[in-house]
Symmetry: C2
Subunit: 134 residues, 2 copies
């Protein structure tokens, strides 16, 4: 517990690149603004499906021409959703001839997984104390 109390509010330059620590210390405003953009990009069913289609593709990348048929949406709408995922740093793309190819940027999903992972499980101090006392 004392370690937790030693965590300084605000930026932690050593770990900032990887994980501001959503569950271990209060986020500062800048961190929250930055992180909220990524979660907002994930906060839409079409974008989640697009991301899962891209991320789970065995070859590692997907032609936009293979994504569009899965949705009852226009190509420009799909492209708009893909743009938001790209702006959030979740995917990247490259145009080759007629088509654009998309792939996952796993650093971002790794980062999100990391900040959502609890530190090593701690027993609840109060209950542990009660259990010992009884």
């Amino acid at each position: 517990m004392s370690n937790q109390e030693l965590v300084v509010l605000g930026r932690n330059d050593e770990t900032d690149a990887c994980c501001p620590g959503l569950l271990t210390a209060p986020l500062d405003e800048d961190q929250a603004v930055e992180l909220a953009k990524v979660f907002k990009a994930l906060g839409d069913p079409v974008r989640l499906r697009l991301l899962s289609m891209i991320a789970s593709r065995a070859g590692g990348e997907v032609c936009v021409c293979d994504l569009t048929p899965a949705f009852d949406l226009s190509q420009p709408t799909i492209s708009h959703h893909l743009k938001l995922l790209r702006q959030a740093g979740l995917i990247d793309c490259e145009r080759r001839g007629t088509w654009v190819y998309y792939w996952l940027l796993p650093e971002m999903t790794d980062r999100l997984a990391s900040i959502l992972t609890r530190p090593a499980a701690e027993p609840l101090p109060d209950r542990a104390a009660t259990a010992t006392a009884s």
Copy 2:
């Protein structure tokens, strides 16, 4: 790779409760709608800060009276954000006398961390093949 291709699109009843697998198989529409609600709740800087304040509290719960002063927002606005986090299954609360106390529901953040975690690292098959061939 063959294992990946065997993954059936749509619901996987065995793992559905825990992790629809954002990165391992395309989400079906229902899973995406459900999951998008949670990410949408996280897609706001004030809610992220509230969640991190609640999750990182050593005692495990926080009085709303300790949350409000950190923000330049009215009590009803803070309560609205807390309600959205609660509806997303990220926190729960209890009224005791004048104040409402909030705590993290770690099952949901665990679930998000799990679906954002890549399966055991696989070398990129094409590059590995190239490296072996050269």
